[in-house]
């Protein structure tokens, strides 16, 4: 190789590609879509539940795919990460049919998942992950796009839920015409809860918007969710009271709440120039007035001299 290229060190990411040119894309596209149940599935410990995933090849080339169960690592603000292995709690009792299949272009197929819910499972929400992975063949550099499906199992029963919250990035004085902050909700209980929030902003000058609704979110134990709070003052000045109410389910018939409240003064920095401008204007007026007073005194001698000519 070195000889053929005049002693240059040659790095080929695939030898065959060198013959065709410096860059070569080998495989066709890999276009996948996965559909899964949108709501938590009610289950009973010791029972079995069955649901389906729908795997579609939304591209114009056929695809082979594999489907596997994965443990889901839950993070703040709803983020998820699928681990390399299945969830140990459900691993032995999860059956996927089929586990691999070939899809034609624009074809969709259903995958049946059967889960044996372990007996003695505590009332809570359990997050199951299923990873659909295309089988990619081709040269040395492979870019594999895997798609995850997230299925929530809801074991009914009394839950221990508790929510704490605090404002983040919400100072008492904001040097801007708008305020962007968060209400950080933290699940301090032992069970997953669902919360929604309403933020009301009152004061002068009229805030835009005056009420902010945040859609309901599931919040597993120990995790946080930052609810965005944003409002602005059209004048760039304002004195506001912001009040955020986070309501969460304690029991099916009873909700709990956390109320946050703070007074915030909004000042657009340009307003700081106003006193200086006023002082400058007053100074200018005083100077101008003084100048006007001085002018007639100079002209009088000239006016008096004219008739003598």
């Amino acid at each position: 190789m070195r000889t053929a290229f005049g002693g240059l060190l040659f790095v080929a990411l695939l030898a065959a590609a060198c013959l065709g040119g410096p860059v070569s894309a080998w495989a066709a596209s890999s276009d996948l879509a996965v559909s899964y149940p949108p709501d938590p599935i009610p289950v009973k410990p010791g029972a079995q539940t069955t649901f389906t995933l729908r795997v579609a090849d939304v591209g114009k080339d056929p695809l082979s795919v594999t489907i596997s169960a994965r443990q889901v690592k839950l993070s703040a603000n709803g983020q998820t990460q699928f681990m390399d292995a299945p969830d140990a709690v459900f691993a032995g009792g999860t059956h996927i049919s089929p586990e691999q299949m070939r899809l034609k272009a624009r074809q969709a197929r259903e995958v049946t998942i059967t889960v044996d819910v372990p007996a003695g499972l505590r009332p809570n929400d359990y997050f199951l992950g299923f990873l659909v992975s295309p089988v990619v063949t081709g040269p040395a550099l492979r870019a594999v796009n895997q798609v995850g499906a997230l299925v929530v199992l809801d074991v009914a029963g009394a839950r221990e839920t508790n929510l704490a919250a605090s404002y983040v990035d919400l100072p008492s004085v904001v040097w801007s015409s708008s305020v962007s902050a968060y209400a950080r909700a933290r699940n301090t209980g032992v069970s997953t809860l669902q919360f929604a929030s309403t933020t009301l902003v009152t004061g002068r000058v009229a805030p835009r918007p005056a009420s902010i609704w945040e859609k309901p979110h599931l919040l597993p134990s120990g995790l946080t969710w930052d609810v965005p709070i944003h409002w602005s003052s059209w004048l760039g000045l304002g004195w506001y009271k912001v009040r955020t109410t986070l309501v969460y389910n304690v029991t099916p018939q009873r909700t709990g709440q956390v109320v946050l409240s703070r007074t915030v003064v909004v000042i657009y920095p340009a307003w700081l120039a106003l006193p200086a401008l006023i002082v400058a204007l007053v100074g200018f007026l005083v100077w101008r007035r003084g100048r006007k007073r001085r002018r007639p005194a100079r002209r009088r001698p000239k006016a008096a001299a004219a008739p003598t000519l």
Binding site: V58, Q257, V259
Partner: protein, 327 residues
């Protein structure tokens, strides 16, 4: 002496008059207290008579400032079920009960609610009336007395047995496309050809309410015999480099989409910087809401550059992108 009875009578008359005036004022005041709720709406997710596990949702806007302790919503005669609280906006925590054809939401710790505040309450677990017909709901806000603060009537909802109930369940879907599942690059360490790149276009589209996360990792751009790995330009997507090194493997990225759903690339990718693929999955892109009709498009330009310190040979790597829905 003769004027005293007259004075008492006059005083009594004056007192009676004052009382009458006060009573009129009180009546006026109580009448002025009650307003009409604006935009009263009632919806059900299934209108078939006798259907169980139905969700009722009520929304309105307050007309009068007041401390709301109770919100009552009338429902058709025969409505039953084990009612549970769904979602609450505009009011604090409370409890729900269904009795005498009225759903009552009782606020645990009432606070003053200003006028023009939108309220939304949804309740699950209801069983529809078995009587077909058109029904409205009267929504009333009350103080702890209880005295009516505001009241209003919704549009009608028709329950029927012969009607066809269409229940459409829209699944959550995550679509992830990749226009370049495999590719090859050829480089040599001369200044004229020591770098090469390949754009990989990924699109993500979802209706998942909380958005998605796109993580990536690779096995390392490496060869065997002798073993050598072309170093990643950075440890991962959190750390970007402005200048591509003389020898390295990494990617830069651009993001496009409809916006408004919190889609954001990892900090290291900002400003056209280059990042390396980490050995374990790390977040390259995330969104906090559904994409809507326009997919998010992430164009990753994978780039390799070599110098004379890199042994010649065939190098391979598998980059794995994982798109997962948020919970």
């Amino acid at each position: 002496m003769g004027t005293r009875p007259m004075g008492r009578r006059r005083a009594r008359l004056v007192a009676a008059g004052v009382l009458a005036v006060l009573a009129v004022f009180a009546l006026e005041a109580s009448q002025a207290f009650a307003g009409t709720l604006a935009n009263v709406s009632w919806s059900v997710n299934n209108s078939q008579t006798g259907k169980t596990a139905v969700t009722y949702a009520f929304s309105c806007k307050t007309a009068t400032a007041g401390t709301i302790k109770y919100v009552t919503m009338t429902v058709p005669s025969g409505t039953a079920g084990t009612v549970a609280v769904g979602t609450v906006y505009g009011l604090g925590a409370g409890t729900v009960a269904l009795a005498s054809n009225t759903i009552t939401y009782t606020v645990t710790s009432p606070v003053a609610v200003a006028a023009n505040i939108p309220i939304y309450l949804s309740f699950t677990g209801l069983t529809n009336t078995s009587t077909a017909g058109s029904n409205t709901s009267t929504v009333t806000t009350q103080t702890s007395v209880p005295a009516t603060i505001d009241s209003g009537t919704s549009q009608s909802v028709t329950f029927g047995s012969s009607s066809t109930t269409a229940t459409v369940t829209v699944a959550q879907t995550l679509s992830f496309t990749n226009d370049t599942p495999s590719f090859s690059l050829a480089v040599d360490p001369t200044g004229t050809a020591n770098g090469s790149s390949q754009a990989v276009t990924l699109t993500i589209q979802t209706n998942a309410a909380s958005g998605y996360t796109l993580a990536a990792s690779d096995t390392g751009l490496s060869r065997t015999s002798p073993a050598y790995t072309i170093p990643a330009v950075s440890v991962g997507p959190g750390t970007g480099v402005g200048t591509f090194p003389a020898s390295g493997w990494g990617a830069s990225a651009t993001l496009s989409g409809s916006g408004g759903h919190g889609a954001a690339m990892a900090s290291g990718l900002s400003g056209g910087q280059f990042v390396g693929y980490p050995g374990s999955a790390a977040t390259f892109l995330s969104a906090t809401g559904p994409t809507g009709a326009t997919a998010d498009t992430l164009v990753l330009t994978d780039q390799v550059k070599v110098d004379y310190g890199v042994p010649a040979g065939n190098y391979s790597d598998t980059i794995t992108y994982v798109a997962t829905p948020s919970y």
